[in-house]
Structures are given as structure tokens and as C-alpha cells.
Amino acid sequence: MTVFIIRRLLQSFFVLVAMTVIVFVAVYAIGNPVDILIAPDATQAERTAAIARLGLDQPLHQQYISFVGNLLQGDVGRSFVFNVPAFTLVLSRLPATLELALFALSLSILIGIPLGLWAGLKPQSIAGHSIMVGSIFGFSLPNFWQGLMLILLFAVLLGWLPSGGRGEPGEFLGMQSTLFSLDGWSHLILPSINLALFKTALIIRLTRASVLEAIQLDFVKFARAKGLREGRIVGVHILKVIMIPVITIIGLEFGTLIAFAVVTETVFAWPGIGKLIIDSIFVLDRPVIVSYLIVIVLTFITINLIVDVLYSVFDPRVRLQDLGA
């Protein structure tokens, strides 16, 4: 297991290096931030000074080397716009997005897996059909529209929940998070439902398909022939087998929840990194964009590592291959 994790971390390192090159070149290629950052009526001298201050007068490879050099010291540069260290800026916004993503993911797992199980075990029942029809809505309604409708219904018409923004953080065991305050929860509910709807539909469909596949297998029939109770057959025999594909997808989807919560964060004015990256792209705030991408890549790498470890928990066959390698 340790060897496996070390090997994976090494691979991850190369992914990270490749990513910095791609990101740096790609970001460099789009536009000139000076045009946006400097007042149109600035003199040429002011312009040159600004370019020099931002290090944009050096050749590309020079910029890359100093960028990587700084990166190794944990310095990605300062945000052109906010004039604070870009990495710190992104990290300060990360908890908001993580809260949202974690909450949305938990919602979609807690709702998606039981409903998917039900739909898979009783595919011909009315409930089974209803669940599938419902999941089509989750899939096909545009995300931003769902968000607007949620705001319209629960914030505007019913007035139960706030329409946007993040609540006051509470404190628990020295950790600050809006998950620990009532106000935080009330702000969190609508955006996380919005974010969770699509994922829930996905998990329902995946779980159902896996269950339908699993119940035809001989070992399920053998479990019945052993006289096991239905609860044990479903809860142990079927659930453990279908967790393998479900965990893969949940892992991948958690990454995308963090990376692409942009729409939901925009609709609900949620101060997370999704909103930050959109704003930064508009003004070509390169250090922020780069920091954001580094954080996202790190997140994906971490999640994939966790998924791989979870695999071996759920699938003993993976464990054996690992030992052999």
C-alpha cells in the first residue's frame, strides 16, 4: 500500500509539472493584462513601468523559470487586481467552495444511492419509474435555471431561505465554517441543492444500472439460495459490489463540483473560487488564474488518490494486483 501511494505521488508530481507548463503558456497567450489594468490615458512611461513591475518585459522562458522558482517557494505572484498574494487569495475562497461541494455531494449520495437502489431492485414498480422520470429532470433542466427557480420559490415567494451570499461562519473545535452556524446552513441549502440536483440524477442512474446488472449475477442468486434475508443481500452483497463503479464516479464528480461550481456560485452570489476565477479571467489576472488551476489540479490528484485507496477497500482483487506489482 505504501509503495502504491508513493508511486502515485510521483506520478502526480509529473502531472503537476506538465500542468504548470500548459497553464503558463496558455495564460500567456491570451490578451495583455496591461491593457486592462492601466488607465487608457496613461503615459508610455507609466506603461513601461507597469510592465516591468509585473515582469512582463522578459522573454517567455525567463518568465516561466522565475514563475516556477517562485512557485517552489510557494509564491505564485500577487494578484494584479487585489494586490495580495494570489495563492492566499484563492485559498481564502476555497473553504466556501469546499463547503458547498461537500454538502452538495453528501446530499446527492444520501439521496442518490437509496433511490438508485430502489429503482434498481424494483424497476417495474411505480416508484421505480417515477424515480427514473425524476432523474431525467435533474439531468436536463439547465443548472442556472434550476437555481433561479429555487430562488424564486424559496427565497422570493415563500421567503424561507436567503437568496444568496454566504452566512456568518461559526466555530467548532477551532475550525471556522458556516457549517457550524444556523445562518450558514440557511445560506447553504439552496445553492447546494442546486449543485446536487445533477449529481443526484447521475448517481441514481449509475446505481440503478449497477444494481440491475448485479442482481442477475449468480452470487446474488446463491445468496438467496443460502436463505439470507433480503436486507443482507441488498445491504452487503449487492451494495458492496456496486460501490466500485459508484465510488469512481463520485470521486470524479467531486472534483468537477469544486472546479465547475461556477454557475451555481454566480447565481447565488456565493463567494467561492468559481466566482473568483470568472472575475479573474475577465480582467486577465494571471497569477490568480494560475493559482486556481494549481489548486484544482491538486484537488483532482488528491481525490483520485483517495478513490484508488477506497477501491482497495471495496475490491479485494485490486489489493492483490497491488501486491504483485
Binding site: D218, R224, K226, G227, E230, L320
Partner: protein
Amino acid sequence: MSEPILQVDRLQTHFETHSRPVKAVDGVNFTVRAGEILGLVGESGSGKSVTGFSIMGLVDHPGRVVGGSIRFDGQELVGLAGEQLRRYRGRRISMIFQDPMMTLNPVLRIDTQMVETLQAHQDISREAALERCRESLKMVGISAPEARLRNYPHQLSGGMRQRVAIAIALLNDPELIIADEPTTALDVTIQSQILAEVQRLVEQKGVAMILITHDLSVVAGLADRIAVMYAGRIVEQGPSDEIISAPRHPYTSGLIASVPSRNQRHQRLRQIPGMTPSMTHLPEGCPFHPRCPKAQDLCRSEPEDTWEGPRSWRCHFPVGKDESIWS
């Protein structure tokens, strides 16, 4: 002779399809006594496996038992509610499946899969259950039960897995074991080992067994009685040696004739002409008549079971002694 432990009477298991029902099992009668092995023989699609699953109450949707009776130790199993039937399954009647690669859950350890079988039927501590599992594994010829218990199925060979499956089937000391092609998926050498093991256990424990197979040579040496199935019916049954030496139904006789034997080298293998009929479009009357060399007009009407001592056949024109119809 003792009372039969299992009495199957006019059993009918049909599969509802969009067009017309498929009569996978259509009026099957047989009995099994304690300590007796009944060989249920037939080609694939003849309904022998469905018969086995009907007894277990495990016929897959859209199939269901539509008629007849299955009496186990005096208790009618047809129409029994789920929970009542569950108490029989795995405890008093257990089953061994065809493919040992598929019958064990790949993600659960052997001990989990064995202990749960005991705990589903009795209040027993994990420790006591494990002890029973070790005994059961030893009984089927597994030498290091302790190590095997901690294995996952993929760490065991096919023959070993089938031994584990048999050990699981024996755990609760069942009175009837239904073995559905238990050795078909195994190598020939392993096959005979497993069969010998099964034979010894049945004898030792006095269990009744239904051995479902398409392989006549498997039942010939093992079963006390043979029932031959064709198109959802039992066409002939009786003591093994009598059936093998003097089959009365033309189909049985054809089956025996098509077993390739050693002294027939360079001779064309004999076979029954034609194909197993489609279950949705069975021929009228005796379903075998289109392939039967003895068929006459009368065969378009359904023949009844003819009983003669322990034997019965279902044919208008049974094969006579020393008559050779397949040549």
C-alpha cells in the same frame, strides 16, 4: 422403504412473455428419498434447472410456478410466503450452482460468506459459527481451512471454490441438496474428485440429492435413479442401471447412443437428428415426435405416463428390449 422427503407433483413453471407463456416445466412428477441421488438429465433448455429453482422458490421473473405441488417433508412449498420459504432455503434445502467462478461474491471473504449462512438461520456466535465452517471445509477435503477462510474467492482455484460452495451448502445440515451441473465448469480430473466427494457426503449424511446435469455419464455412475427431461417434461424415469441398460423412451435411447464411447474410433459419432424444439412453438402431442424414428400418427396426441414397477415412460411406442432404433 422410507417416505420420500420430496414429492413433486404435476409441477408447472411458466414464463410469461409478450406473446405466449413459455412452459419451461410442464407437468413434472418425481420423488426423492433421504440418502438417494436422483439424476435429472436433459439437454439445455429442457427445464431441468428451472425445476431445481422452482423447488427453491427462486425462479427468475417473469417465471413462476403456476400449478402442481412441491411437498417437502409433508409441507407444501408452492405458494409459501417469502419469509417462510427463506427458512427452508439454505437450511433444509440447499443448492450448488454450476459455475463456481460466479457463485461466490467476489468482494466478500470466504468466512463472511460462510458465517452469514449459519447466522441467517440460527442464533449462533461468530466464534461457534467459524468452528462449524472449519469443520465443513474439512469435510469437503480442504486441507487448510483456517487459511482458506481468510481468502477472497479470486485467490482460490475453480475446484477449490466449488468445494467451498459445497461446504456452504452443507453448513446447516440440509435434508435435500439440489446440485445444478456442479461439475460442468470444472476440469475432468477435478470433476471426478468433486463427484466422488459428493457421493461420499450423501452416503455419510443420508442427505437426498437432485443432481441436475446434461451429462449422462456423470449420473450413470452416481445416481440411484434417473429422470430424463425433454421439453419441460420427464419422459422417462427409473433406477439408473435399468434406464442405462434398457431405455424405453426413444429419446433416452438416443441420448445413450450419442455418448461417445472408446471403441467407436473412426466411426461417425451418432446423434439425434434435428434440434431441441423452441419452447414457444412446441410440436403438438409428444414434443419429441418430429425427431423420433418410431413416430407415427398417434404421436400427435400427448402420451400419458406408463408405470411398470419403479419405472415410468411417456411414449406411445416404447423401445423394446434389445431393439436398436438409432443406427
